[in-house]
Symmetry: D2
Subunit: 377 residues, 4 copies
Amino acid sequence: LFALMYVSRRIDSKYKTDYYNRVMAFYRYVVEKDLSLSLAQTDMKGNRSLRPSEQEDPDMYVHIVKRDKNGIYVSGAKAHTTQSIASNEIVVIPTRNMTEADKDYAVAFAVPANTKGITMIARPLKETETTMDDSLSVIGRENIEVETITIFDNVFIPMERVFLNGEYDFAGLLAMMFPTFHRFTAISYRAAMADFLIGTGKLLASYNGVDDKSNIRRNLAVLISYKETLKATAIASSYSCTYDKQASLAIPDIIFTNVGKLFANENYTDVVKNIVDIAGGLVATMPSYEDFENSNEKTYLMKYLAGRKKEETMERVRLFQTLREFISSLGSLYLAGMIHAEGSIEASTMELCRSYDYSSSIDLAKFASGINDELEK
Amino acid sequence: LFALMYVSRRIDSKYKTDYYNRVMAFYRYVVEKDLSLSLAQTDMKGNRSLRPSEQEDPDMYVHIVKRDKNGIYVSGAKAHTTQSIASNEIVVIPTRNMTEADKDYAVAFAVPANTKGITMIARPLKETETTMDDSLSVIGRENIEVETITIFDNVFIPMERVFLNGEYDFAGLLAMMFPTFHRFTAISYRAAMADFLIGTGKLLASYNGVDDKSNIRRNLAVLISYKETLKATAIASSYSCTYDKQASLAIPDIIFTNVGKLFANENYTDVVKNIVDIAGGLVATMPSYEDFENSNEKTYLMKYLAGRKKEETMERVRLFQTLREFISSLGSLYLAGMIHAEGSIEASTMELCRSYDYSSSIDLAKFASGINDELEK
Amino acid sequence: LFALMYVSRRIDSKYKTDYYNRVMAFYRYVVEKDLSLSLAQTDMKGNRSLRPSEQEDPDMYVHIVKRDKNGIYVSGAKAHTTQSIASNEIVVIPTRNMTEADKDYAVAFAVPANTKGITMIARPLKETETTMDDSLSVIGRENIEVETITIFDNVFIPMERVFLNGEYDFAGLLAMMFPTFHRFTAISYRAAMADFLIGTGKLLASYNGVDDKSNIRRNLAVLISYKETLKATAIASSYSCTYDKQASLAIPDIIFTNVGKLFANENYTDVVKNIVDIAGGLVATMPSYEDFENSNEKTYLMKYLAGRKKEETMERVRLFQTLREFISSLGSLYLAGMIHAEGSIEASTMELCRSYDYSSSIDLAKFASGINDELEK
Amino acid sequence: LFALMYVSRRIDSKYKTDYYNRVMAFYRYVVEKDLSLSLAQTDMKGNRSLRPSEQEDPDMYVHIVKRDKNGIYVSGAKAHTTQSIASNEIVVIPTRNMTEADKDYAVAFAVPANTKGITMIARPLKETETTMDDSLSVIGRENIEVETITIFDNVFIPMERVFLNGEYDFAGLLAMMFPTFHRFTAISYRAAMADFLIGTGKLLASYNGVDDKSNIRRNLAVLISYKETLKATAIASSYSCTYDKQASLAIPDIIFTNVGKLFANENYTDVVKNIVDIAGGLVATMPSYEDFENSNEKTYLMKYLAGRKKEETMERVRLFQTLREFISSLGSLYLAGMIHAEGSIEASTMELCRSYDYSSSIDLAKFASGINDELEK
Ligand SMILES: Cc1cc2nc3c(=O)[nH]c(=O)nc-3n(C[C@H](O)[C@H](O)[C@H](O)COP(=O)(O)OP(=O)(O)OC[C@H]3O[C@@H](n4cnc5c(N)ncnc54)[C@H](O)[C@@H]3O)c2cc1C
Ligand SMILES: Cc1cc2nc3c(=O)[nH]c(=O)nc-3n(C[C@H](O)[C@H](O)[C@H](O)COP(=O)(O)OP(=O)(O)OC[C@H]3O[C@@H](n4cnc5c(N)ncnc54)[C@H](O)[C@@H]3O)c2cc1C
Ligand SMILES: Cc1cc2nc3c(=O)[nH]c(=O)nc-3n(C[C@H](O)[C@H](O)[C@H](O)COP(=O)(O)OP(=O)(O)OC[C@H]3O[C@@H](n4cnc5c(N)ncnc54)[C@H](O)[C@@H]3O)c2cc1C
Ligand SMILES: Cc1cc2nc3c(=O)[nH]c(=O)nc-3n(C[C@H](O)[C@H](O)[C@H](O)COP(=O)(O)OP(=O)(O)OC[C@H]3O[C@@H](n4cnc5c(N)ncnc54)[C@H](O)[C@@H]3O)c2cc1C
């Protein structure tokens, strides 16, 4: 909601609107009632090379279909909204910048999840269920977030919950600011995931008796660097935050935030490669829980699945099984999440290049090449 | 079996043994009866920094426990043997080079899969089953290979099926030659997989209306390059094969084979990254088959899951579902397979650096730096 | 010239022109007189986001300024033409595909290098000279190719040397076919360069006593893979060539050629990283030839620059010096050459994605996802 | 010197020595007299797979050859000492950890650069000179740091300047702490370099009219990410510093520092690739200063070297020339510096893996896989 506070101030000051107060009222309401929120930003988008208003089916992006003095009516659908099933309120904001033609698509609001006209269709749980059945692993049981397609069929939104209503020139700013705040939470979640992998990698290599080999150290260094680089950009981003007077908010540094996000997106598959390299083939072929229930098979398995020391066998087995779930059952979820969450690589690259302030770099280049005799600063 | 033919000739000529004839007899037998084989090379290995004979539990590598005039008795276990459940005969060879102390571990033989004393424990089928249930995808249903841990408990092998029996100085050559031949088959399997991904990527991007964007082209170029580089190394490897007179065999070029294998190992996660990048978040959140059975939900889904054109919606849905299975349910299998099959990256790097003939490179370096005045050739 | 033969046949058959005979006549002339050629394809290009005919200055691409019955008059300039100074004839072809508006830019011809109106300005020789002075290294002395900017100021080209004269629809094909043939030569030159680096890397690591360390093997494997992958794509490309009946020519496979070229472009800096990693800091700080002339300093240097064995010291010194020249003095030349020669990465990616035949991949994807029940082939 | 303060406290407290006071006295002396220091840590090392005391020539690492009550006598040589020629005092510390056998190699001290018995041999200046001659570029003229081989031939060091004298168990800590502090300075120098490249890349792409193309944005994002990731790790490292009571010093966080350093080492060639990709072939073939002095050639050059706008031509030329010097003349220096300075990649990877505290990661892995029921913290 910080992004809404930040942007609403700016809209109000340009258009003499009253969004900031609406946002603050909603914010207080959420805090008081201890409500959970989900954020629906990403639209279905149809043909990605057309703008919202150019789509064959106008509902490909959520938009205003009718306005009356009490509120607005919206239709369309948002893709992959995390946790919407479990939350009380859905916050809807635009997914991208808009032009004048896309005016009706420049819309932001909050709405209770159980409002009439809202339908949610969840991603398949099969995979998660597979994991849940397995009594050995905790990871699947504890981490069940479910994404939905969230469909709006002529849903009424009362005026006091409308936070953007056609001011298309602010859609882009709002679309950009939301993830900026959001990425902080993302960092801690990702760091935890990396921690799981670092620990698993270190243990599996130790069980194999090879954790101090040069090649394994290279693998571990990739896992460690992934986590610590994310943490570093998060720290740098808060440390270099700017204070926004209008909204009384500290804004995390956009460049550090984006650099960290892009690093996370681009390097996650490298992390996967390195943990699989450490683990070896058993990450695919480790027998499952049931095989350990047959006592004859169990004896063989406990004998042959030993690594360095017999006593560690069961730990080794569980780590392999859990890593398999992580990579397999939860695989597409984590891969898509790490590569796409909060915007695809291309979108983030574009944003980074646009928001970067090149002036001091250009000064230095001109100075170094003798074009300018002095550095401006 | 070509590797056995090749190596047995060499052992025979050094030790006056009769392995080549045994191998050829077995080969004729297999061809006549049209038997299927599986190859058990990779041992359990326990502590990876100890040699076979140094392990706490001597059974960590398959080895000879007794010899009599009719044959040998072997114990130990082989990890991840592909297709052993479905095959008639198991061919066992050493997983690495051996020293004199590892003499009893220098053993190769063939044995019917249903021989007394052999137990096989399969990798979990849960994942594959998940896929099989899904009536939309073919990929899971058709590709069910199952790896097993194959345990030998004092199994008798009659002499005519024993192909290596303590000649430890040939264990390494055999261990290396087997995969060299094996990798040919691997190439075609991998190229098919890459083809599936190229087609899926091209179609998904087309449905999204973005298949000619610069960033998508970069993604597709990675997929195409993966496949075509593998194919190129395979072609170069047969083209540059050497003919072995002793065994009357064409031996694929070891360097090209290994370079192709390493390329496949090192770059597979990059392929995954690029296909996920093309696909977007729906690869994780696309609803599954059942959601399309409820007619109300189906109407919404068919409307909102459209890309460029309405008529393509169902194709788009199926491709996303199949790609999810590929990445998720079959994920750890493919990842481990692509990164480890036929030897880990470290093992292959070692092999490449050892088998490379540096002489002409060294000549050139010495000439270029003025150490030698002339190039030898 | 093969590209010209190939394309001229096609133009002739569409436009009833007589280019093929002109090309063949020129070809015979070159062979008879044993003339050397240079190829001028890349134009100056000015603003890269505008087409040739849209440029502020029309001379940014070489074009026809006047036509009479004896020939054409051309103006404009070609950038970085290799070896033009030393060659007898310059062959000029278009740098890209053209539209009708660019008609006058669709021009190809051959012209003697000393024709009136042609001016050549060479790239700076300072760097090469630096190397030439150093009596220890051969690499710089022997490899002096010089690129020029080649300027055409209203140069007359007699009709029998004109090979494209406004047939804009063939400019793209010609622009693409030329490098396809050219890249064969490029492969062998690049493989030689890689050989120099492999030999240097292997020797330097041996002198340091570390050539069998895991990390050094990884470095060497990168160098070896670079060379052997290039070679593999070259072999595959000739092996899969298609025979063109119209021009009686074997055409190398375009996909393998491009995949090899892109691999070379994308991975060259990785090669540099690995050789510098092997070499260590002395690649920058190794004293130069003159320091070895002062006998006092020489004694110290010979003592302290020893690696594994005293006798190898001078070899070690020379290899370091030569590698420094290679990376430094010749650095921008090799870097730009390896990354850009025969087309930038973006241009090659575009070409690869366009010329790739996706049909069998799409078939497979549709079959695997249950869209089609059968594979077409 | 902070590292010496930090370590000397620890030695004193174990061995009841008086090093801390010596260090502080030297520190005050340096500050008072405003002396410049250079740091000589890296030894010549000879055979890299042997320890210091195992070398054929004992002088391959600087060591104590004699001790008397007034001081010590040292021999040996240090490689690539930056700025030693221009500095007043040389600080010498061990390059690695030492065992008891290497006792005499566990030595640290400070000594005036002009002391009898010290000889310095500089790296070749040819390249730098090349650049200096070119009146257009500032970069070469202003950045002349010179590395030397610094030879010690039985040099006397008075006791009050000796900071380690055989306490071999502290050699490793000292060797590690020095670069930890040093890397802060390194960060700012590297960030400046990255700034030059960002500015140059942005300008060159603008002159070409392509700075907003997708592929160029990818290139720029690599340059920006390089700089900002370095900055982020530096910020995180100071932010997470620990305060050392013994020496009254803030110690930068070792993990963030090392992660930043490794990132810089591993990715520098990628930066080079991206700037060369942006620049195009002119980075190699841009004519030099002298060609612009001939008025005839100048007219042509000014016409044809224009990009988007005529007025920018001279700026474009200068940027290209400067970038060429940067990549070529200064090339091996920057490459070796970025890849090796303050320790090779292998050494840093080892250090990172050793100093990392795995406990919380291991906790999490055990919890997630059901081995432990609870998280320790
Ligand atoms: C696990 C998970 C959780 C998520 N949680 C949330 C959430 O809580 N709330 C929320 O709002 N969103 C959420 N998202 C959505 C996420 O932000 C999107 O996945 C991301 O923005 C990419 O959008 P997309 O999936 O529609 O992919 P697409 O936009 O379809 O992208 C697919 C590919 O096409 C390319 N592309 C698309 N358009 C263009 C174009 N015009 N030009 C060039 N290339 C183009 C992209 O770069 C990408 O490579 C979640 C996603 C995941 C995977
Ligand atoms: C899908 C699949 C199918 C397979 N099919 C077959 C088959 O049909 N027949 C068959 O025989 N095998 C098969 N394999 C096995 C395959 O060859 C092995 O997975 C591979 O050789 C790696 O061995 P590992 O799994 O035991 O891993 P490990 O050897 O345990 O390796 C794990 C990690 O430790 C490292 N490591 C291990 N030892 C050392 C050491 N001493 N020094 C430094 N680093 C070390 C490795 O480099 C790797 O990074 C299959 C594997 C898979 C995944
Ligand atoms: C050592 C060397 C030898 C050579 N020898 C020859 C030779 O003998 N004959 C010959 O004809 N040529 C030769 N070349 C030229 C070579 O083919 C070109 O360098 C190459 O095609 C790139 O063109 P450019 O240098 O003009 O770079 P540019 O085209 O300016 O490219 C610079 C950057 O801008 C990007 N870019 C340019 N236009 C666009 C656009 N419209 N959209 C998006 N991005 C764009 C490129 O992708 C690249 O990243 C040689 C080059 C070198 C370095
Ligand atoms: C521009 C520049 C400035 C510098 N400034 C200073 C300075 O001011 N003061 C200072 O003290 N130093 C300085 N250095 C030195 C720098 O710290 C070293 O270059 C670095 O530590 C690597 O050492 P080396 O150059 O001897 O390479 P080497 O140690 O010879 O390394 C070469 C290769 O061999 C590998 N290798 C070496 N030993 C082993 C082993 N036992 N096992 C496995 N692999 C091994 C390395 O990983 C590397 O890949 C500078 C270096 C440069 C390039």
